[in-house]
Every structure is written in structure tokens, then in C-alpha cells.
């Protein structure tokens, strides 16, 4: 107060001036209105667009990543499937091979038995045939022999009879032994 009174010629800087207060308020109010209308919406729109662009980019990247992951999963599952398939096929083949081998063995055995059987039969048949032939030939030889015996010595009936009997018995023993041996086999 003392200072204000002392500086009588000096104006008091704190004194309000209505014109200046009003001007300050009006100018600033207009500034606020302009900033609100022209500046803030522009900036906020830009910020929102930028955020959206960044988020959009991130969403796109996420989508790409998800797609890549899905593809990888698919390939992995396909690979696993293929491995299983291959293992199964191998197993099947092994089983099938084993079956085929055993079948073939069976077949071969059967065949062998059949061949052996056939051979036996043939051998028996041939032997029979030979025997028949032999018997026929022996008959013929016997007849020849008999003819000769009859032709050469009729004087000694007793000797002749003995000779014939001996021949027949020999023949029979000869006939009997191979017959018994053949039946024994």
C-alpha cells in the first residue's frame, strides 16, 4: 500500500482493465472453438486411422502366421499318416510273405508227396508189368523147355517126371519169393 501511494505517478500494474480482460477472454474463447473444430478432430482421426492401420497389419500378420501353422500341422499330420500307412503296408507285406511262404511250402510238400506217390505207383505198375512180362516169357521158355524135353527124352519117364517136377517147383519158388518180397514192401 505504501508503495502504491508512494509511486503516485506510476500506474499500478495489478489494476484490472475491462477492455483487456474482455479481449483476452474473447480471443482465447475463439481460439478454443477453432482448435476444437479444426485441430482436435483432425489429429484424433489421424491417430485412430494410424492405430487401425497398425492393428490391421498385426491382424494380417497373425492371420498369415495362423495359416502357416495350419499348413505345417497338416503336413505333419499327413507325414505321420504316411508313416503309419507305410508301417502298416510293411507289416501286411511281411504277413503276406509269411503266408505265401507257408502256402508254397505246403504246396511243395503236397506236390512232393504226390510225385513220390505217383513214382511209387508207377514203379509198382512197372514192376507188375515186368512181372507179367516175365511170367509170360517164363511160360514161353517153359513151354520151349517142355517141348525140348518132350522131344529129346521120352525113354526115361521117371527122370522126365522128376525133371518137370523139379522145374515146376523151382519155378514156383522163384515165383513165390519175388511175389512175397514185393508184397512185403
Amino acid at each position: 500500500m505504501n508503495w502504491i501511494l508512494a509511486a503516485e505517478g506510476e500506474p499500478n500494474p495489478l489494476t484490472p482493465h475491462v477492455a483487456e480482460i474482455v479481449l483476452g477472454i474473447v480471443v482465447f474463447a475463439i481460439l478454443v472453438a477453432l482448435v476444437r473444430k479444426f485441430v482436435v478432430p483432425n489429429f484424433e482421426k489421424t491417430f485412430a486411422e494410424r492405430t487401425a492401420a497398425i492393428e490391421g497389419g498385426m491382424a494380417q500378420a497373425e492371420k498369415a502366421q495362423a495359416e502357416a501353422k495350419a499348413a505345417l500341422d497338416e503336413y505333419t499330420s499327413q507325414l505321420t499318416h504316411a508313416r503309419h500307412e507305410a508301417a502298416r503296408i510293411r507289416e501286411d507285406a511281411r504277413e503276406q510273405g509269411a503266408t505265401i511262404i507257408s502256402e508254397m511250402r505246403q504246396q511243395a510238400q503236397t506236390e512232393a508227396e504226390r510225385i513220390v506217390g505217383t513214382a511209387h505207383t508207377q514203379v509198382a505198375a512197372e514192376r507188375q508189368q515186368v512181372l507179367e512180362q516175365l511170367r509170360t516169357e517164363v511160360g514161353a521158355i517153359a513151354t520151349t523147355l517142355a517141348g525140348r524135353i518132350v522131344g529129346e527124352s521120352l525113354e526115361d519117364e521117371a527122370r522126365r517126371r522128376r525133371t518137370v517136377e523139379r522145374f515146376i517147383s523151382e519155378l514156383e519158388s522163384q515165383d513165390a519169393s519175388p511175389a512175397s518180397s514185393g508184397g512185403g514192401r
Partner: protein, 260 residues
């Protein structure tokens, strides 16, 4: 009076409040008034040009505008008021900060060299607007009596001490705030400018007018100090704009807060 006896040439008159009373240029309009309008035009012009294109990848101008805008939007409005309500006050706070900042910088801009807010009445106007704003949103949010209770009765206090607290809180939160707000801005600008003209005019007088040879180097020192003070003023001018805006945001935040 003794100095007057020593100095024979023109007497040095120290600068005083009278130096802030500028003559009217035309029809009652003086330089600070024009500065006020110019500052408003600069602020809205800069931000409009910077924000107009709105490109996703900003150019230099747009980037500068966005940085300035987000400094107030996020650094003051959102941090103080909170993300729920702050957008409503962003235009006011952005305009307030840059309006005060440009007007303060006028104190150092060559050829202008006068801080607008060293005229106290301009500061009164802004403080009055802030006062209306924070009380207005407080009443809008809480109702008249709810708001008065909100501002005057602090939570957690009961009993006879309320008789003491309520008037104190009312005076400090409702009555005193606009005055401290206005005077802080005005006094800083006024004192800074006074200091500057004291050193420059004093230096000029010592260097050119004074007859005493010893005073001349002192005058050079005075000029050097004036340059140093200019840089200090640059900081003060920024800080005062920031403090005014920050306090406005805090008053608004306090007025619309749900509870203390």
C-alpha cells in the same frame, strides 16, 4: 538524489510499471492486444496446417504438430484427468498451453519483445475462464450442493474440526485459485521483462551516456547479464505456460473426481 548530484549528464530513470503502459496504436488498441490476436492466429494456423493432411506417415510439419499436440493431450490432459474424461478438455488445454507459450515467447521475439501476459488483465481473463471451467464441470458432475460439499468437506474429517476446515477448503479451492493462477503468470512475465529492460537500459546508459570511465565495462557486463537472463526467461516462459495448463488440468480433475 545523491546519484543525481554525481552524474552531471542526463539522469538515469530506472524502468518501472510505467514501461508496461504502452501507447495506443489506433483507436484504443495497443501492442499487447495485437500480440494476443497474433498469438491466437499463429496457434490455430500452425495446428490447422499441421493437422489438415492427416497422413498415416506424417511429414515434418505434421510430425511437429502431432508431437506438440500429444505433449498436452497425453502428457497433461490424459495423465492428470484420466483416460475416461480427458478428451472433453483436450481442446481447451491445448489452446491454453500454446496460447500462453506463444504470448510468453513474444517477450524474446525480436521486434515484438513484450510478453503479453505482463499485462495482468490478460492473465485475469484466462484465470477467470479456467475458474468457470472447473467449477462448471464440477457442478455439472456433482450438482451445486454436491460440488460445494465435494470441494469444501475433505473425506475422513469429522467432528468440530469441520467448522475450521470447511471455510478454509472453500476459500483455498474456490476463491483463491483464480488469483494465484493469474498472479503467478503475470508476476513471472512482468518481473522477467522488468529485469531484462533494467539490464539493457541500464547497460546502455552506463556505456553511452555516463561520463565516468569506470562505468563503461560495467555496462558491458550488464549487457552480458541481459543475454544470460534472456535464456533464463526462455525457460521461465515455457514453465509458466506449462504450470498454468497443468494446474487447470488438476483443478478440473479435482472437480470431477468421484471421491477425494
Amino acid at each position: 538524489m545523491t546519484i543525481a548530484g554525481l552524474v552531471r549528464a542526463e539522469e538515469f530513470t530506472p524502468p518501472g510499471p510505467g514501461d508496461f503502459e504502452l501507447p495506443a496504436l489506433f483507436g484504443g488498441v495497443d501492442k499487447p492486444m495485437l500480440q494476443l490476436v497474433l498469438a491466437a492466429l499463429l496457434v490455430v494456423g500452425f495446428f490447422w496446417v499441421a493437422s489438415r493432411r492427416g497422413e498415416l506417415v506424417p511429414g515434418k510439419l505434421q510430425f511437429a504438430g502431432e508431437q506438440a499436440y500429444t505433449f498436452v493431450r497425453n502428457g497433461i490432459a490424459r495423465d492428470i484427468i484420466g483416460s475416461r474424461d480427458f478428451m472433453m478438455f483436450v481442446p481447451y488445454l491445448v489452446a491454453l498451453f500454446f496460447f500462453i507459450l506463444v504470448n510468453n515467447f513474444f517477450g524474446l521475439v525480436p521486434l515484438i519483445q513484450f510478453p503479453s501476459f505482463s499485462r495482468a488483465s490478460f492473465a485475469y481473463g484466462l484465470a477467470a475462464l479456467t475458474w468457470v471451467l472447473y467449477n462448471g464441470v464440477g457442478i455439472w458432475r456433482h450438482g451445486l450442493f454436491g460440488y460445494l460439499k465435494h470441494q469444501s468437506v475433505p473425506g475422513g474429517v469429522s467432528g468440530p474440526i469441520l467448522a475450521l476446515i470447511i471455510p478454509l477448503e472453500f476459500i483455498s479451492n474456490i476463491l483463491v485459485r483464480p488469483f494465484t493462477l493469474a498472479l503467478r503468470l503475470f508476476a513471472n512475465m512482468f518481473a522477467g521483462h522488468l529485469l531484462l529492460i533494467l539490464f539493457t537500459l541500464g547497460g546502455e546508459y552506463l556505456l553511452l551516456t555516463s561520463d565516468v570511465a569506470f562505468y563503461k565495462p560495467v555496462g558491458v557486463v550488464a549487457f552480458l547479464l541481459a543475454i544470460a537472463i534472456s535464456f533464463l526467461e526462455l525457460l521461465v516462459q515455457f514453465l509458466q505456460a506449462y504450470v498454468f495448463t497443468l494446474l487447470t488440468a488438476m483443478y478440473v480433475s479435482g472437480a470431477i473426481a468421484e471421491e477425494h
